[in-house]
Symmetry: C2
Subunit: 309 residues, 2 copies
C-alpha cells in the first residue's frame, strides 16, 4: 500500500459519532476508597452537565461484598436527573434488578466473564450458570421496558488463565445477545490487550454479532487502552466505556491505572474528528474535583496537563 492511501482509508473507516458510556461513578468508585453519598451525587450531577448521555450511576449488589455501592438507591434518589441522559445500574440478579427498578434506573447491566476461572473467582459460578441467572433478570427487565446491557470480562487475558481465545469471547457474547442484551461491552479487565490481539478478538465477535451491538471497555493498566480503542474505532465499534479521571484501580496490580480516562478518550475522538457531544473542559474540571476528594492526581494525561481553575 502506498502511504498516500493510509489517511484516506483511515478517515473512511472511523465513525462520525461515538457514544461514551461513563462508568466512573460505578465501575470507577467501586474500586476506590469509600466516598460519601453527597460526593457521589455531586459527581454525577457534574457529569450530567458535560454532555454525556449515558452515566452508570450505581450497582445493586451485596453491600457486604461491595460496600462502596451500598447507597446506590440513595444516589438515584438524590441526583438531579436530566431527561436526555440514561442513568443505569449494575444488577447481578433478580433482587438487584428489583432494587434498581424501585430506584428508577433507566437501564441495567448484567455481567459475566469469558474466562471460566475468573467467573468462579469473581462471581462464584460457572459461565453457563451466570448466563442462566440472566434469564429471569432479562425477562423482568423486558416486562418493565428496561433495556439490559451485558458486560463480558477478560476478553484479552484472564489473570488466572492467561490468554482468552477470541472464539470463546465470541461465543459468550453471542449467548448474551441471544438472551436479550442489546449491547455487549467487551472488557479487557486487566489491560494487557494490545491492538493486534484486540483486532483479532473483535473480528471473531463480529462474525457472530454486528459491531453496532458491541462496546469496548478497556483498562489502561499498561497504557494500551487508547491504541486499542483507536483500532476498535476502525472496526465499526462506536460505543466506548470510560471513566472520568480514570477512576477505578486494578485489583491485580496495586497502584496501577484502571479504566481508561474519559478525558483521554475524548481528546482522541476530537483529534480524529469524531463527534462525542461531550465537553472535554467540563469533564477535566470534574476529573480534578473527584481526584482531589480521593486525595490523588487524576489518572488521565489530559487532566494532568491542565491545572484546575
Amino acid at each position: 500500500m502506498r502511504n498516500g492511501d493510509h489517511s484516506t482509508r483511515l478517515h473512511k473507516l472511523l465513525p462520525k459519532q461515538v457514544n461514551i458510556v461513563e462508568v466512573g461513578a460505578r465501575d470507577g468508585l467501586q474500586n476506590e476508597k469509600m466516598v460519601p453519598l453527597d460526593v457521589k451525587v455531586a459527581l454525577i450531577d457534574k457529569l450530567s452537565q458535560t454532555g454525556l448521555c449515558y452515566i452508570e450511576t450505581g450497582a445493586f449488589v451485596s453491600p457486604k461484598r461491595i460496600p462502596q455501592m451500598a447507597d446506590s438507591a440513595e444516589v438515584f434518589e438524590a441526583i438531579n436527573r436530566k431527561p436526555n441522559i440514561t442513568y443505569s445500574a449494575l444488577t447481578p440478579n433478580l433482587r438487584g434488578l428489583e432494587d434498581a427498578i424501585q430506584a428508577g434506573a433507566d437501564e441495567v447491566a448484567v455481567f459475566t466473564s469469558a474466562s471460566e476461572t475468573f467467573s468462579q473467582n469473581n462471581i462464584h459460578c460457572s459461565i453457563n450458570e451466570s448466563l442462566k441467572r440472566f434469564e429471569p433478570v432479562i425477562a423482568l427487565a423486558a416486562s418493565e421496558n428496561i433495556k439490559v446491557r451485558g458486560y463480558l470480562s477478560c476478553v484479552a487475558d484472564c489473570p488466572y488463565e492467561g490468554p482468552t481465545q477470541p472464539a470463546q469471547v465470541a461465543s459468550i457474547a453471542k449467548a448474551m445477545s441471544d438472551l436479550g442484551c442489546y449491547q455487549v461491552s467487551l472488557g479487557d479487565t486487566i489491560g494487557t490487550g494490545t491492538p493486534l490481539r484486540i483486532a483479532r478478538m473483535i473480528e471473531s465477535v463480529s462474525h457472530l454479532l454486528p459491531a453496532h451491538n458491541l462496546a469496548v471497555h478497556f483498562h489502561d493498566t499498561y497504557g494500551q487502552a487508547l491504541a486499542n480503542i483507536f483500532q476498535a474505532l476502525q472496526m465499526g465499534i462506536n460505543t466506548i466505556d470510560s471513566s472520568v479521571a480514570g477512576l477505578g484501580g486494578c485489583p491485580y496490580a496495586p497502584g496501577a491505572s484502571g479504566n481508561v480516562a474519559t478525558e483521554d478518550v475524548l481528546y482522541l475522538c476530537e483529534g480524529l474528528g469524531i463527534n462525542t457531544g461531550v465537553n472535554l473542559e467540563e469533564v477535566v474540571r470534574t476529573a480534578h474535583y473527584i481526584a482531589k476528594i480521593l486525595g490523588k492526581a487524576p489518572n488521565s494525561k489530559v487532566a494532568r496537563s491542565q491545572t484546575p481553575s
Copy 2:
C-alpha cells in the same frame, strides 16, 4: 471492508523489528531537575544492560542555557561502553560537535523546528538559518565518519502558531536529509497530535523521503503517543524515540508527561509481535531506579503496574 480482513492486513503492515532510540538520559534529564554525574553514569550503564542499541548520552550545548547537560563530557568518559551500542550526543553547532568528537560520541544529532516561531523562540534563529548552521557541522562529522541524525520539532502543532502544515514538515525534513542527516526524527513536541493527523503528516513526508529514513519522537502529554506510534508503525516507520520512565516533562504544561515511556512502547511492540531486542523487565527496573532518585513515580503505566523488586 469485512472485519475479517482487518487483523490480516494489520499484521502485514506492521514491521517485524523496531529500533528504539533511548533518549531518557539526554532529552529526558535535560527537562528534569539536576542529577549528579554518578547517577547519569549509573542510568546509562543500566540502560546498556537492557538490550538497547542506541542511547542518547548527552548534549554539547551552552551550560548556561542547559545546566543539566554541562557534564556530558564527563558522562561519556565515565560510562562503561558496550561495543554494539551507539552512544550519541546532541550538537547544535560546530563547537558542540568538536566537543562531542573529543568526548568520543559515536553519532551526533542536530535539531530544528517545523515552526518558524518555535525556531525563533527555541534556538533564536530562523529555520533557514538553522539549516545553514548544519552545513559545517555535517561536513566535519562526515570527515570524522560520524553519522548525523536530525530532530525536527513541532511536526503536529506549535505552542505559538498552532497546527503545522504537513507539507511544511515534509519540506524541512527533506532539506535536513539533503544536507546529510541519515535519519530525521519527527517530533510531536507538545504531544497534541492524534493518529489521523499524524498519518497525514507522515504521508506528506513519505512523498519526499523513504519511511526507513524517518523516526518518530512523540510526547505523551495528552496520552496519545502510543496510538500515534501504532499508526506510524503501520506506515513503514521502524525507529521509535522513547525515554525510560517517561523522563522529561513538557515546558508548556507543567506537571504533564513528557516523552513517551520506553516501557510502554516495548509493551506495545511485544504485544504486536514486533521484535525490539530489549528486555522490558530490565527497563522497568531502570525506570524505578531513576524515578526514585528524582523523587517521583515513573511516568509510565507499565512501570507503575509493577512494584519494584
